[in-house]
């Protein structure tokens, strides 16, 4: 991978991007056990395969999601994270 498709700015060189790690869902800190929370803080799914990851386009300050195969380093799709509904 030398180029990456930013959902806002199109195809840009990889040097403009920063890796944000795997996309993960946070357990509810009020209801989860200490063990679940420790697992969320420290443990990672390190095995290879297709992964959903956070990437950051630095010049434009855009965070987005990329789906990437961590063996072949091929990106199948990139998209902006859908806006969450905020409870008022």
């Amino acid at each position: 991978m030398k180029l990456l498709q930013c959902p806002v700015n199109g195809i840009r060189p990889l040097s403009e991007f920063s890796y944000g790690g795997e996309f993960r869902t946070m357990p509810d800190p009020d209801s989860c056990t200490d063990q679940q929370w420790a697992a969320y803080v420290h443990y990672r799914s390190g095995a290879p395969g297709y992964k959903k990851e956070w990437w950051y386009h630095m010049p434009s300050g855009t965070w987005f999601i990329a789906e990437r195969n961590t063996i072949t380093d091929k990106v199948s799709r990139t998209y902006l994270f859908p806006k969450r509904e905020v409870a008022v």
Partner: protein, 413 residues
């Protein structure tokens, strides 16, 4: 080639000496199965046989021995770490290394060079002073030196680094050494083999059977083996193995690249590391400069290497040694580094009975080969981890008792 030599090459009377038996088919059952025929796995097998008399051991290697990270590192051996636990552990390793050529009856080209960790900023100097004090406290010879002493040890070094990042001082570590890395794997393989351990190359583990929380066997592409004790010593392949037994770990894989230049006459007799310039360099006994840099910036399970890496590295190395601009890089490669969040390894028992883990060796595994083999052998033989590796246990993450070693990583990762 002289004819006389060629005659020996094809002679049946003088076959090439083999380091270990050519084992083809594994037995049905072993006392201990070691996954991974790198330095760590082979050392564990050797010490299981030598220290504890456990010789019914199989080492399974999916490629050839020493072909993984054992043969891909930059061969530096040192113990100038940051935590007392780390310093004690790596110091024990250096002590074994010093007598290892004799013990294994194989010249490992162990060469004591002295090791300078260069500091280009005040904050780096602060870390050097911190490491020096921890090292001295544990009895390891490390101290902070100024630019004059560095110049004296290595007059070729441009102390101003082309004016980009002037060197303010360094942490000097007297025991810093290099050794021939594949020799370490071969030496341990031969030692283990002579004591009765069986080594199987081209043998990949595809499944690990766990019943009632206990290990009972492994399926390989070379038959099924039943066993109650399995050691995983597979570095960059650890997540694939832990996935087989459904064990969670913090390990993520990033490639780590290195390269060598064409050989030169000997001129660099120390080991130099610069965290700010992301470079470590030493000269091998063959005359090549062996150079490495920081980790690739994102997760990947591959050993491909990149032009970006050589460009970045050579730009920094020519800041230190401008005259190297005419010297060619002849080889580059990558290894898969298994990283932990605190830059300390994960060693010892796991929640699965009979499944032992020797992993999380990131960018610091080669120097620990002898002591990790010795302590993992003890852990397997006694089913209890020795005190020396207690702070590297897997459960430290759930206990929030991390062993913060990042400040002692060779370059800023």
């Amino acid at each position: 080639m002289p004819l006389r030599l060629l005659k020996y090459a094809i002679s049946r009377e003088h076959p090439a000496p083999r380091f270990f038996r050519d084992c083809v088919e594994p037995k049905k059952t072993y006392d201990v199965v070691i996954i991974g025929g790198g330095g760590h796995g082979l050392a564990a097998a050797y010490y299981l046989a030598k220290d504890y008399g456990i010789t019914n051991v199989a080492v399974l290697e999916k490629g050839y021995i020493g072909g993984g990270n054992t043969g891909r590192n930059t061969t530096i051996i040192r113990s100038n770490y940051l935590t007392p636990e780390g310093v004690k552990f790596y110091d024990a390793s250096v002590k074994i290394y010093e007598g290892l050529s004799e013990e294994l009856d194989l010249n490992l080209f162990y060469s004591n060079r002295g090791h300078f960790t260069l500091a280009h900023t005040e904050s780096a100097m602060r870390t050097m002073r911190w490491r020096a004090e921890v090292n001295k406290h544990v009895g390891v010879e490390s101290y902070v030196v100024g630019p004059e002493e560095i110049s004296k040890a290595c007059p070729q070094l441009d102390i101003s680094c082309s004016g980009q990042a002037p060197i303010l001082g360094a942490l000097y570590h007297a025991p810093g050494s290099v050794a021939r890395h594949d020799g370490v794997a071969w030496g341990y393989a031969r030692g283990a083999d002579q004591l009765g351990v069986e080594i199987f190359q081209n043998t990949e583990v595809t499944r690990i059977d766990v019943k009632g929380g206990k290990v009972c066997g492994v399926q390989t592409n070379n038959g099924y083996i039943s066993t109650n004790k399995v050691l995983s010593a597979v570095a960059g392949f650890t997540p694939r193995i832990t996935q087989m037994v459904d064990l969670q770990t913090p390990i993520v894989i990033h490639p780590l690249q290195a390269c060598v230049t064409e050989p030169m006459k000997p001129w660099l007799d120390t080991i130099l590391v610069s965290g700010s310039l992301h470079v470590y360099v030493s000269q091998s006994s063959r005359g090549e400069l062996v150079m490495g840099s920081s980790l690739d910036p994102y997760e990947m399970h591959s050993t491909r290497s990149s032009l970006d890496f050589v460009e970045g590295l050579t730009s920094h190395i020519t800041d230190m040694f401008p005259f190297l601009s005419n010297v060619k890089v002849v080889r580059q490669w990558a290894g898969m580094a298994d990283l932990t969040p605190d830059f300390a390894p994960i060693m010892g028992k796991t929640p699965i009975e009979g499944f032992y883990l020797d992993a999380g060796w990131g960018t610091w595994g080669f120097k620990a080969t002898p002591i990790s083999g010795k302590t993992m052998a003890e852990t397997i033989a006694k089913d209890m981890a020795p005190d020396l590796i207690k702070s590297f246990r897997l459960s430290r993450f759930e206990d929030y008792e991390l062993t913060g070693e990042k400040g002692a990583a060779s370059v800023g990762h």
